[in-house]
Structures are given as structure tokens and as C-alpha cells.
Symmetry: C2
Subunit: 397 residues, 2 copies
């Protein structure tokens, strides 16, 4: 199996050319739902015959389909973007799950054009939301796919986790306070060292933030949940480049005098104008209070499941801006920039400067009932939280 | 007394020329405090001899000093901007209160330059914060004063209430979603009718918002506290140009189905991308929910005295931006634009298109003890709320 080895895309493409132009009848196996509901109950395994390729479509074989926390909300029906309801793949309308993953191009329509963008054997990630990555094969429009640079050496695990979380981190560090040195006019104005504070720092996005910030010369203050192995976690985040890591309790404790500490860390030569929030609890208001004048608080998640509560004085007198980021919104308006950014991210991964989060591959095989049961267990573990990021792999039949 | 009559600035200047060049020794009477604290207790009346004019200073006689809600916080010491602590006017250090008011130029230093900006008899409002308007006379730097256009017909009450609240309304309608037709490139893009929703709609800022919005072709949805005379208030706000006025209860009641109503009011040809907040209660989150995609919630007050609580999903998926506005911050970076805007505002007032809020003039006279007692009563009434805007007038001795 290819999963655990680092394979060059070029080598991989060579292997796949043996299958070049495979566009004939093939069955796909897919994780689907007919009705929204409890993720441990409504997911089913479904087998369907892929249609003949339409013009501009390519035939894909999925290598890995990633599960993200937002997928839970998609299944529950409370997420603003939903997979297409397919009337053409079964007796009842079905939605194929999966927003992120990596696939290999197996073929395209004989006289179809792919505008020189794709060739057989190319490895691709998804450039549009909710395309259905939790399946073994698919026909998808070539324009919705992002080919990985053929000279970058990426493992499948790296590729499968590249399209959602690292771009979210990249954009949040680039679009509000421009810390990306590629757009450094504003960032270097005044030449103060820039700092970022974030909660949920151990999330996949949080880890990407730490690593991009290190790469771009930006300091980070990172907040994590307390846990039995918290010192281990702190060491790991430091190894990725975190300047400071605190638990929420350490951060909020008055005894610790954290405000004075943070001011000391930032110093007079520094400023902290960006805070990234995927939690939204008490610590978020405190993060906002620690920011310099004219700060941006960017929310990309709400794990605390409460309203975000912030003192009005921060908005009025300290010019705080609270805003949000959702990659799906951004992608719609920046298709070209997305391609460029993905190339840069793939290069950073290939250079060892951007590690993927810890992942676990779950093998899907056997009868539909067996697969459904396995998915129910997977969903249960995800809802309980605290596991590694799960990647689905359909075993060849 | 001039207060209740509309007097042309030109006529007024003529009257004042009789006093031309008066820069000799004069006493000022001022409302001051030595220590921050309870506004009903710490205010004192103080008499001091004005120093000889410095270069660039002008001698002013205050006609009216306005009291704004923020002044309470200044006295309490919880406001970010404070009046200067004066060591030169008494036995102990004293702060002269007052951020807004109207004054007449009585003279300037013989060889001082005022760069052609000011002449004896000009009526001026304050162009910098916390200059001390609750006094009878002052020496102030000419650059901190904004002369009112000499051809605009403004009553003293209109002039005394022109420098803080109408500019706040003007900027909030111009700087976030540019609704001011003078900068209409962005506003007219797409050509949808623009709507604004605001709470505290009966505040002086709220009334200015209603009138500027009408002038600029922008629809308004206005929220007010319920009160015995609410129908009268609604009629008054409608007469200023309000499209819709609702009490908070009407707005939040599920039975009323307000969401559907608001959608109907706005219609398909309209959009509502701006909400103005000086309260910060439950109604604010509801205002935010009713906004179109990419809306701006601008906070300029926090009358509910609680944190502003907003659902994270609005930030993430609906691109809500929550931010704030404080005229003092803006003024520091836009001195020139402030002058231009004040001229435009004065013209609107002179044309009868911008009414001042209801005001009440409080006469200050008699011994220091009598004045202090009067001020204590005034502060008590303001803290109880719901009165007219109060303007202080020092009676000639």
C-alpha cells in the first residue's frame, strides 16, 4: 500500500499510466446519506455504476477521503454548504459525503478537452466544496480539481489534508493583517515585529498557522485545552515553531498575570493585531483585549457553541474589528489565487516546512452493512473528539 | 437673549464687532472637577483669570456648552479621553469639563496669526476633543476650532449640537458601507436600494442618521424603547424621514414575524448591509441576523452595559463584520475632512434638512455654591435619562 511511504508524484504517475485512459464502466463505492440526521445513524454505504464521462469531466480514483469536523454538521444538515442531491445513482435521492481528499486522474473523455491542465496519473485535490470525496471513484469537472505540482514530493496523507486547513491558515494570515511577506507592503510598514494569538492551536488549522507564521517571521501565542499529556503537546507545538503555548486556564488565571507576560513577550518593538478564533469562549474576549489598537479578530469556528461575547468598548475605542473566514466563500471569488496558493503550500510541504496533522487511515471494505457499521463507529469517535484526523481509504475489490 | 431666535451668523458677527479685539484680562467661570467620581458630587464651579493669549490662540466667549451622555463617563474617569489637568487655574489641579459647544471669537493676539481662518465675531465649534466647553470664556489654539460658514443661518442651539452627533452619523453612513452619494461608486454598484437598521434611533445620533439617510436616498429601520408616548415618538421620527419604527418588543416578538416583514420592506431590489448599534442588547444580534451578506455592524455606544453577543456563524458564513466608531479617533487622522464635513452639515441645517435634537438650556449664575448645586441636579436628571439634551449657558455678570 502506498499510504505510509513518500512517493514522488512523477513515479506515481508512471505507475498509473498503465491504466491510462480508463474511462469504461466502473462501479464506485460511496459513503452517502438519504436524510440529514445523527451522523452515527444516517450514513450508508452505496454502490453505483459511474456514468459515461461528460465533456470536460475526468474519471478519478480516490486515494484518501478526509473527515473534517464540519462534515458532522453537513450530515446533520446545519452547515450552509451541502453535497449535491443525486437522483441518478440509486432508487432514492442520495448525497455523497466528503469535502476533502486526494485522487488520481484515471482518464478523460476521448475528445474532451482538459486544456492542458491534467493528464492521466496526475494527483489532484478538490478545488470546489462538497464534491464527494468519501467514495472510491468519481466523474468530476476538470475545472473543479487542483493538480498537485508534479515535482513536489507529497505523501498521500499530506495531499489528503492539504486543501482545506492549510489554505484556511494561509488566508487568515494574509487577508486581514497582511503578514504574508509576499504582500508585505503593509506588513513591514513601521517594521514592528508582528504577533498572532490563537485558540484551538492544536487543531489542524492551528498547527498550519504556527508553521506558516514561523516561515513568515511572525510570532505566535497559542492556547490549547488542558489535558493529561499537555506538556507533550506543548513540546510538539514548540517544535512546529510556536513561540508560546498556554492552556486556557493558564491564560485566564489572574495569578499568572498573563496580560503583563504577553505585553513583555511582544515588547515595544512588536505589535499583535491579529487573533484567530475557532472556539469563542471566555478566552476569546481576553485575546481581543490583548490586541494592539486596530486589531482584527477572525473567527473560523465556534467549538464553544455559544455566542461570541465581546465588550463594546473594544469596538468603539480600540478599533477592534471582529470578522470571520470560510474558505468556501473565499474560493468562489478567488479561483485563480487558490491555484497559486495551493502550489505554494505544496512546495512548503515538500520542503518539510509544513507538516500535516496526525492522521489515521480507516480502511473501508466488505459488504455495505459492514462499511456502514464502520462509519458509524468512526462518527462516534469523532463526536467524542480528541482523536487524530481520519482519512478514509476504499480497499480495492 | 439670543438662544431661542434664529440669528444669521453675519448679523451676529456685526453685533460682536463692538467687542472686537477684546483680549484684556477677563475672568472665566467654569464647571470643573478635581477628582474623578460620582457626577452628582464631584463637579464644582470655579472662577479663574484667563492668561494673556499665547501665539496662535484666540479668546472665546462660550455661548452654549452641550452635555452628552459620554460626559458622565469622563467625570467618572472611565472614558478613554480626558480633559487636560490644569495646574495653572487654581490652588489644586483642576479639569474643565465639556466636549461640545459653540463659542464666539472675541479676539486674538495682536501679532498672532490665524491664517485668515478666523475673525472677530466668528462663531466656532470645537474641532478637538475635551477642550472645556462648560465655561464662560477660554483661550484656545485656533487650529482646534472649526468656524461655522458665515453664510449659514444657524441658531445657537443648532450650532451647539452640531459637532459630535451629526458627524458621528455622517461618518457611520459613509465609512463602512459608503451610502453618501458624494462617494457613490461603491454604493450604487448593483444599484440596489440601500437600507440601514439602527437601535437607539431616538438618540441625537439616531435622529441625524434618519435625516441624512433620507437626504441620501437610504431607507431606515429604526428601533426605540417602548414608552407611554411611543406613538408620538414614532410619528416624530417618521416626520424626520424614518421609513419604519419599531419598539424593541415589537422587533423581537415572534408573533410579529418581524423577519418576514423586514424582508418584505427591503424587497428583492434592496439590501441592508449596515446596522448601527448604541445599545448592545438582544436586539443587536437580531439586527445582525437580518443584514444581507457581507454586512457591517457598527457599534458607537453600549447603553445595555453588557458584552455584545453575536453568533459565530454570522461571522463565518455570512461575512458579518462587527466594528466600532468613535469620532475622537477619526478626527485625529482626518482633520481636513472634518472641516469639509462640518461645512456640509451646517448647510444641511441651514436648509432645514437636518433638525437638531430637542434641547433645554440651563442657565448658570450666582455663587459657586449655587452653580455646583445646579450642576448636581442636572447630572442627576441625566443619569435618570429620558430628558432633552441639556445646553449650559453662563449668564453675563
Amino acid at each position: 500500500m502506498l499510504l505510509s511511504t513518500r512517493t514522488s508524484a512523477r513515479g506515481f504517475a508512471t505507475t498509473c499510466r498503465a491504466l491510462a485512459g480508463s474511462t469504461g464502466p466502473v462501479d464506485s463505492r460511496a459513503v452517502v446519506f438519504a436524510e440529514h440526521g445523527d451522523p452515527t445513524r444516517v450514513l450508508k454505504s452505496h454502490r453505483y455504476r459511474l456514468a459515461k464521462l461528460d465533456k470536460g469531466q475526468v474519471r478519478l480514483r480516490f486515494e484518501l477521503g478526509a473527515i473534517n469536523p464540519a462534515d458532522i454538521n453537513v450530515i446533520q444538515g446545519v452547515y450552509p454548504s451541502k453535497p449535491q442531491v443525486r437522483e441518478d445513482i440509486g432508487a432514492e435521492p442520495l448525497s455523497i459525503m466528503g469535502n476533502e481528499g486526494v485522487a488520481t486522474v484515471e482518464g478523460f473523455e476521448e475528445d474532451g478537452t482538459v486544456e492542458g491542465r491534467l493528464k492521466i496519473g496526475d494527483r489532484v485535490v478538490m478545488g470546489a466544496p462538497q464534491l464527494g470525496t468519501w467514495q472510491s471513484h468519481a466523474n468530476l469537472p476538470h475545472a473543479s480539481l487542483i493538480p498537485l505540482p508534479s515535482d513536489a514530493e507529497l505523501s498521500l496523507r499530506q495531499a489528503a489534508t492539504l486543501a482545506i486547513n492549510p489554505p484556511t491558515a494561509w488566508r487568515m494570515l494574509s487577508d486581514f493583517i497582511p503578514l504574508n511577506p509576499e504582500h508585505s507592503d503593509a506588513a513591514t510598514k513601521g517594521k514592528k515585529k508582528q504577533w498572532v494569538i490563537q485558540n484551538g492551536a492544536n487543531s489542524a488549522v492551528g498547527q498550519a498557522v504556527i508553521q506558516l507564521a514561523r516561515e513568515w517571521g511572525v510570532g505566535t501565542i497559542n492556547l490549547v485545552r488542558d489535558r493529561p499529556s499537555v506538556n507533550e503537546l506543548k513540546s510538539y507545538l514548540h517544535s512546529l515553531g510556536a513561540d508560546h503555548v498556554l492552556t486556557y486556564d493558564e491564560f485566564l488565571s489572574r495569578e499568572n498575570n498573563t496580560r503583563a507576560k504577553v505585553k513583555e513577550w511582544i515588547g515595544r518593538d512588536g505589535e499583535m493585531r491579529l487573533a484567530l478564533n475557532c472556539v469563542g469562549g471566555k478566552e476569546t474576549a481576553e485575546m481581543a483585549k490583548l490586541m494592539s489598537m486596530d486589531g482584527k479578530l477572525v473567527t473560523y469556528g465556534g467549538m464553544a457553541k455559544t455566542a461570541l461575547a465581546l465588550p463594546p468598548s473594544l469596538f468603539i475605542f480600540r478599533k477592534l474589528t471582529s470578522t470571520g473566514f470560510w474558505l468556501s466563500n473565499w474560493t468562489q471569488t478567488h479561483p485563480q489565487e487558490r491555484q497559486t496558493m495551493m502550489r505554494s503550500l505544496a512546495e512548503l510541504v515538500a520542503q518539510g516546512k509544513l507538516k500535516e496533522p496526525e492522521t489515521e487511515v480507516v480502511e473501508l471494505a466488505g459488504s455495505d452493512a459492514e462499511v456502514a457499521e464502520k462509519m458509524s463507529g468512526v462518527m462516534k469517535r469523532i463526536e467524542e473528539g480528541r482523536g487524530k484526523k481520519i482519512l478514509l481509504h476504499w480497499r480495492d475489490e
